[in-house]
């Protein structure tokens, strides 16, 4: 097992005829993901390196039986692509684009709420269940199949931290994205990891901004039975400045790393202060 994706996942790539879409469609297929189709309006009938291209998500789903999509269209068109994917009934939609308007994201998530679609992102690297499937842009070689579930607001920091869990490998690594409003949060992933028999320990990688980590800590305390470790980036971040990610900002003195670390500790989460420390911490518990 693993969460959200595995070898059975049938993926379509929205924006497959674009530069990034095409590149990552191939990379995901090479990794072993079942990339069953692509969508680019107006280019239906084309062939992207052996992957059939459709005009609409609805058509792609009808023809291929896809149950997940990854959106590689530019930010200003990403909202519409997500709406289309939700309407077509996909189970999982991953949005990589950075720069999606926040209020559009609010609308898409509201639209998805009554339907059966989980959105991951936007502004996220996607997710990988090592050895099974990759729906994202992370380098497959940095991950190894195993029993640690990783959930993170970041991209490369996730790779860094995951690299120190190599001894145990990872069940699934999920990048939830760095925007203020995202489709899937820590709690969603913690719940799934907790229920996943293959996952034996969970690492959550947080950062400044918002209260997602604090709420996650409460959830861990109340409901998670497996060992959880946490890292929070941004202890040296100045207040009021957006640290790269749109969501990484300390405003009005709230959303600091200090607060978050305190909340994680209070929930019994093993806080890691340097990425490499995770290796020993895991060894001690597993």
């Amino acid at each position: 097992m693993s969460i959200l994706i595995d070898g059975q996942t049938k993926l379509i790539v929205q924006g497959i005829t674009g530069r990034d879409g095409g590149f990552h469609a191939r990379a995901m297929r090479e990794y072993g993901t079942q990339v069953v189709g692509g969508v680019t309006p107006g280019k239906g009938g084309a062939d992207a390196d052996g992957i059939p291209v459709f005009d609409s998500v609805e058509e792609a789903v009808r023809e291929t039986g896809a149950d997940a999509s990854i959106v590689f269209v530019p930010a200003r068109f990403a909202t519409d692509a997500m709406f289309e994917a939700v309407a077509a009934g996909l189970r999982l939609v991953v949005c990589v684009a950075e720069g999606v308007p926040t209020l559009d994201m609010v609308k898409v998530l509201d639209y998805a709420k009554g339907r059966n679609t989980r959105i991951l992102g936007p502004n996220c690297p996607g997710l990988i269940s090592p050895g099974k499937a990759k729906v994202g842009i992370m380098p497959g070689a940095s991950f190894k199949q195993g029993c640690v579930g990783v959930v993170s607001r970041s991209g490369t920091l996730t790779y860094e931290i995951a690299s120190h869990t190599a001894e145990f490998g990872q069940s699934t690594v999920v990048g939830i994205g760095g925007d203020p409003v995202i489709g899937t949060d820590f709690i969603d992933c913690l719940r799934m990891f907790n229920d996943d028999p293959e996952t034996r320990a969970i690492v959550m990688v947080g950062e400044i901004g918002g209260t997602d980590e604090e709420r996650a800590a409460e959830f861990v305390k109340a409901s998670v039975k497996k060992p959880v470790f946490g890292f929070v980036a941004g202890q040296t971040a100045p207040p009021g400045k957006r640290m790269g990610h749109a969501g990484a900002i300390i405003s009005g003195g709230s959303g600091t790393a200090e607060e978050k670390i305190k909340a994680l500790e209070a929930a019994g989460i093993g806080v890691v202060y340097e990425p490499q420390e995770i290796a020993d911490k895991l060894k001690a518990k597993l």
Binding site: G99, P101, V106, D110, S154, G210, A233, A248, A257, P275
Partner: protein, 379 residues
């Protein structure tokens, strides 16, 4: 993106939200002319994109016309938390009876806009939220239906006993929400929203932040950008597709990814150094971007060492190495450079840097340790 109070008030006025009689001035003379037109006393308020202007002496009441020029001159000459004051807003003195708070933000946890209202106006809402959260009324707004009449009405009735005033409050809330949505704001605030002696409600101050992701559909928002309040190097970095924030330390850093960049800064601090900046070179980094990153970092005289920390994914380590080498060739770089490059094409990068003066490091921890040492060792 933040805009000035006077710009926010223009949006308010256009939306029908009552604001005081007031006008912006960029010179003491203009301030005098405005004061003459309004009649004394007036309040002269520094227009600056940072909080705490009151405590810094940036807001002054002036009773006599002959004092306006000198007060305005003093404020226009100020620099508040590093930001120069380019304009002052000269306003009529309001006969304030009570101060309220009214604002809208996007609630990250609930993924919807939320209207916040409070009878504890005039102080920072975050402070109220921490100390007396029960004093803030929060109304979740359904994105499909928008702020509903009953929601605005109930908020008004909760804060104001007088039915007419409650209605006026509700009307302001609706207009505020309209501006929030039409302009793609990330925050919109009236603090304080004041009740005058005669019962009228007035937006005495105004704060509006736009969602940076929406510039493409709001050219009007971008026109309000005050470039003078932005760090020139941050602007330059942004144009080059980099995300850069200047800090006070001596260890410059170039990292790919915002999270890893923050983690790198944190580790510098943990190992006894001080980061000189935040810098995320972003995804697919060309050698060109790397050169720009180095130029920006090295223009800071405090920088004693540059730490390059790359976990290659889309970013190719050889691109980074090439950029580094080109930067070194084109400029006379005297500060030492420590580079840790792992992931995609790390081997190629290592080969490229072998005979350069760049100090290699195998891990992030090692790289940070070396950089801190080179910057002058642990304090």
């Amino acid at each position: 993106m933040k805009i000035h109070e006077y710009q926010a008030k223009e949006l308010f006025k256009a939306a029908g939200i009552p604001v005081p009689r007031e006008q912006v001035a960029s010179s003491p003379r203009e301030a005098v002319a405005v004061a003459e037109e309004l009649g004394l006393p007036v309040v002269v308020k520094a227009q600056v994109l940072v909080g705490g202007r009151g405590k810094a002496g940036g807001v002054k009441k002036v009773d006599r016309l002959e004092d306006v020029e000198s007060v305005a001159g003093r404020i226009l000459g100020m620099s508040i938390k590093g930001l120069p004051v380019g304009h002052v807003l000269v306003s009529e003195c309001a006969d304030i009876e009570k101060e309220f708070y009214l604002g809208i933000i996007v609630d990250r946890a609930n993924r919807c806009p939320v209207l916040m209202a409070s009878a504890a106006g005039g102080v920072e809402i975050e402070q109220v939220a921490r100390e007396t959260p029960e004093k803030i009324l929060k109304v979740a707004i359904d994105p499909g239906s928008g702020l509903l009449s009953f929601q605005a009405r109930n908020a008004g009735m909760a804060l104001l006993d007088d039915a007419g005033q409650a209605r006026a409050f509700a009307a302001i809330a609706h207009k505020l929400y309209r501006v929030f949505v039409e302009r793609d704001c990330s925050l919109i605030e009236i603090n304080p929203l004041v009740r005058l002696g005669n019962g009228t409600l007035l937006a005495l101050d105004a704060k509006v932040n736009f969602d940076d992701n929406c510039a493409f559909r709001h050219p009007g928002n971008e026109e309000m950008r005050d470039m003078s309040s932005e760090e020139p190097k941050e602007v330059e970095a942004k144009k080059a597709g980099l995300s850069y924030i200047k800090l006070e330390g001596s260890v410059g850093c170039v990292v790919n990814g915002a999270g890893l960049a923050m983690a790198t800064m944190d580790l510098i601090k943990r190992y006894g150094g001080e980061p000189a900046n935040f810098l995320d070179v972003g995804g697919s980094s060309s050698p060109e971007k790397m050169k720009t990153a180095m130029r920006i970092i090295l223009s800071d005289p405090n920088v004693k060492v540059v730490l390059v920390n790359i976990f290659g994914g889309i970013t190719r380590c050889d691109d980074i190495a090439n950029g580094l080498l080109q930067a070194k060739k084109e400029a006379d770089i005297t500060v030492p450079i420590v580079a840790r490059l792992t992931g995609t094409n790390a081997d190629k990068a290592r080969a490229l840097l072998e005979n350069s003066e760049v100090t290699p490091a195998a891990t992030m921890a090692e790289a940070v340790k070396k950089a801190v040492e080179l910057a002058g060792g642990v304090k």
